[in-house]
Point group: D3
Chain length 229, copies 6
Amino acid sequence: MSYYQLGVVKRHIVRADRAAVEKLSRFGVATIHEAMGRVGLMKNYMRPIYTGAHVCGTAVTVLLQPGDNWMMHVAAEQLQTGDVVVAACTTDNEDGFFGDLLATSFRARGALGLIIDGGVRDVKDLTEMDFPVFSRAVNAKGTIKATLGSVNIPIVCAGAYVTPGDVIVADDDGVVCVPKAIAQKTLEAAIKRESFEGEKRDKLASGVLGLDMYKMREPLAAAGLKYID
Amino acid sequence: MSYYQLGVVKRHIVRADRAAVEKLSRFGVATIHEAMGRVGLMKNYMRPIYTGAHVCGTAVTVLLQPGDNWMMHVAAEQLQTGDVVVAACTTDNEDGFFGDLLATSFRARGALGLIIDGGVRDVKDLTEMDFPVFSRAVNAKGTIKATLGSVNIPIVCAGAYVTPGDVIVADDDGVVCVPKAIAQKTLEAAIKRESFEGEKRDKLASGVLGLDMYKMREPLAAAGLKYID
Amino acid sequence: MSYYQLGVVKRHIVRADRAAVEKLSRFGVATIHEAMGRVGLMKNYMRPIYTGAHVCGTAVTVLLQPGDNWMMHVAAEQLQTGDVVVAACTTDNEDGFFGDLLATSFRARGALGLIIDGGVRDVKDLTEMDFPVFSRAVNAKGTIKATLGSVNIPIVCAGAYVTPGDVIVADDDGVVCVPKAIAQKTLEAAIKRESFEGEKRDKLASGVLGLDMYKMREPLAAAGLKYID
Amino acid sequence: MSYYQLGVVKRHIVRADRAAVEKLSRFGVATIHEAMGRVGLMKNYMRPIYTGAHVCGTAVTVLLQPGDNWMMHVAAEQLQTGDVVVAACTTDNEDGFFGDLLATSFRARGALGLIIDGGVRDVKDLTEMDFPVFSRAVNAKGTIKATLGSVNIPIVCAGAYVTPGDVIVADDDGVVCVPKAIAQKTLEAAIKRESFEGEKRDKLASGVLGLDMYKMREPLAAAGLKYID
Amino acid sequence: MSYYQLGVVKRHIVRADRAAVEKLSRFGVATIHEAMGRVGLMKNYMRPIYTGAHVCGTAVTVLLQPGDNWMMHVAAEQLQTGDVVVAACTTDNEDGFFGDLLATSFRARGALGLIIDGGVRDVKDLTEMDFPVFSRAVNAKGTIKATLGSVNIPIVCAGAYVTPGDVIVADDDGVVCVPKAIAQKTLEAAIKRESFEGEKRDKLASGVLGLDMYKMREPLAAAGLKYID
Amino acid sequence: MSYYQLGVVKRHIVRADRAAVEKLSRFGVATIHEAMGRVGLMKNYMRPIYTGAHVCGTAVTVLLQPGDNWMMHVAAEQLQTGDVVVAACTTDNEDGFFGDLLATSFRARGALGLIIDGGVRDVKDLTEMDFPVFSRAVNAKGTIKATLGSVNIPIVCAGAYVTPGDVIVADDDGVVCVPKAIAQKTLEAAIKRESFEGEKRDKLASGVLGLDMYKMREPLAAAGLKYID
């Protein structure tokens, strides 16, 4: 299964380790992205359709054609509990590929949410269902079912390369993809990173400056920073 | 009265049938757009200024000049109960053409809401008034009153052609214009479309796949879809 | 200290009069912008990260480099109670320059909020802290600390020229900068402007038309407006 | 034939008067737009694919579906000598709907050029053919032939309402649509407008100021303009 | 070497077969993209800096940091005759990462051109050198050399996934990436596709309609197309 | 005269030293921007209306109102030989504020070109006149003459702060503003910077790597760069 192979559905994919996924779900997108070495984010035009939406699961990927959501139905059959559907399109298109009926179907098959580099509709219903969706746009525009794309091939979604089974985490700050091969390592780095946060926050709250806490004064002076009255 | 005739106000317009408008107000924008044959939507950059905003009424149209909201005051006099003001501009301009004072005046004259391919301000007040506005932008930038546009001529608003008296429906999914000549027909199609939704939703919720419910497996195979392990 | 001088921090700045700032905080951005003669606004892509965010204070300015938030830490030390940090970048960049740790530090030093022509992250935490941020984008993308910018030099932020100590007011309608030299005069104009609003609102609510209240009928006729049946 | 009726082709359309069209072709888009009362322009994202492209003819309209250029072939059969194809899409889509083969076919049928609110490709070939195209984008992305749109219905193209048979003029400054009903009147206004241009240009070239030539000093003073040393 | 691994340079990469690359260079981007099954294109915001720019070669990839072009110098050492540098950034950034000095160096090392999802400068010099560059932007903004990215790792450039050694073809229509594993197969499909073009063009030029040549009348009727007088 | 004071024209402004301006005109925008410390650029959406446009002169500033070019005529009277008009607008507006008649007038008064954060028209004529214009957009949309802006006040144009009399340089790479106070210093830095370019170019052309010429290998290793086979 190669990148952008059209007209295929891969039935058996290797999903990231369930335990690692669950542990990663406790971390924010910003923390995970830092733990990966400041990479892995989708473009920041991907926004939750309602405030507070959050999802963490394993990617089932979909490659759509413009104005056509046929492959979303094909993808539904490949879903397992804990999956997140990640949908890209072969071109820039903001039509409403997804609404409350597909959300009902996806949830019945075990899916936790949707990440789509396209448009969605029925946002009021999706919000009431508390079905987390992160999309490029909201758009009432309907789609047809006429042209083949693919399911469970590697895709590029909103600038990020996603392989089926990768870990997807999304919250108010954006969407990050953790390749399954580094899920455990990323988890460990995230835990370590977060362990220092409480102490730092307390210090800063007490009025200690980052300049001192992070020992920045010397490098700033070395870089030539000048203070003037 | 022709499209883009400047400096005129049409006093008597034919509004869509009141009963049809009221019945259409129960349907979502996505459903109505589908019922029309997947047409009639404004561009999806038109967004509600607060979550949950909804409006359905008959269009009183306004053609504005950039940075100038004079015609909004002229339009106020033409309003009747159940109208929705639909405002376009002769060029792309996101100035704040509308605020709480005009909303107060529009409401006093019977208007239900505003659709504007431009900017609005006082969004906090408008939200407290629960006055539904769908706009291209929020912008504190004020306007002047110096150049003539028109009221109740056919206009193009956010990509949609709107004739005075047409039905306008707007919700979280976007804005649709139903030409008054097809309001009744659209209503019937919407009713029919929605009548199947409950049953479909129940089936999908029980785990039935769209692939089976919509009998897609055969056409997918005919199109050449391949399943791989 | 001139515009865009890099590598400097000005320690002593003249802040706008505290009493005028406090009085200005009671007015909306649209009103203040009108009181200044319809100028002073930042671009309308600057949006609050949560509905209802509001801030009014004196500007401590920061000039950032792309992908680098070093100067934010330098700025923290220059903050006094009642300040608002106003951050621009030497190029268009939407990385996440700011999050909950910096917010904690800024608040501990007396800052009331942040205006940034760039991205921010940890928006859930910032919302819970009720720390008002107006930004160009939300973005989980992290930054480094490697290149000098400046603190407390005049900057251009989102199209507005901001001098350290100027008054910054931001609400749901946008962000305005009131030069400290005209803070008092602007306040007076705002008070005067607002004093007429209540009466106008009552009249409009009673059904009086703006056409009559503002005596527009004659100038409209002079401009050539035609009424047609 | 109404606006946005899908699945239809109108064979007999009323074209603007040939003589008027030919005379209009001598005027620039800016002049014609002014002659119409400063209306009629398409959005300024519509750009020629090569410098110096120019076209003036009668509109044959096409409504496309996203990623689908089937209707372009249907339109070819409806072309007559002197026509310009004007193509819009039911949604925002920049796929490459048009290339050198279709240009060859359109030209063979008498078409003079293409205006398309979408993408085109083979721009090198089109440039060599000197086939004028004004589009929203250049894009190598191919399209399919699967879904019906319409030919020769009224459409909205790049913000302008175009009826089959209207006059379309396009040059380096943009694209304007002159409704056939006002083609003659617009022509006369353009002739009148242009008749003054040479004299004005000579005066300005000699150093006379617009302030004096247009007698602006008095209205400027009345508006309150102040000169300071 | 995995996708988005920072701080590494891969010295030995497998380049696509030289003979296939040379043969592919005779085809346009649109043809190659069709030959691949309508996939592989970069976003259409990637434009040549001068009309007529064309390049075909094997990819040496670079991952840049915002405002930092250090890795471009590192990449220069890895170039071989026939390479094309393909540069992406860890975030959206349009700074001028590349100018005439780097072009001189790249050319001296054998590179044929540059594809960059960022900005470039010195476009006059680059044009005089006839050094083909396809970029997201032109921007005089300079960059620093402070933070590590990578060279010759798989990257996502303007929406396309590019592996070191893949074939890159760029012309006035856009940029396409042909994975080296399918270069030969793509070449054969392109040859086949193009072999029919001349005959088609002749037929269309003689006035034969695509409707007849492609036998579209029956499927159009089956789809429900109606002709009206 | 303060920033954004409306309704005023300053007659006597201090222009940058003529000799320095003339010497600066020999340098490219990228070089000057680097010589200033990598600051001073306008946004990179400012583009020449024809390839090869170049201008260097002293700024006469104009603040326009949306859809209104009245102040352009007022500015004409303030022009002296060697000036460049720099025009901003109180809001984002891409109307065609400028065409060949104004260019004729400006040239007759000694102006060398125009920088405008707005639209222009008559680009064919302007190109034939070889009148350099750098603008945000090309747009046939006409404007009115009804509302006061200002002439020769400090303005923000495309993100850059411009004071009357500053040096403006524009070429294919963009537009830079050199404050008159640092024109001489910037000139010296530009001369110094350029003096090394020839030697560098020769070395790079001979195959020497920037890695060696700039002695980057050690800092790269220190930063942790790893080479892999």
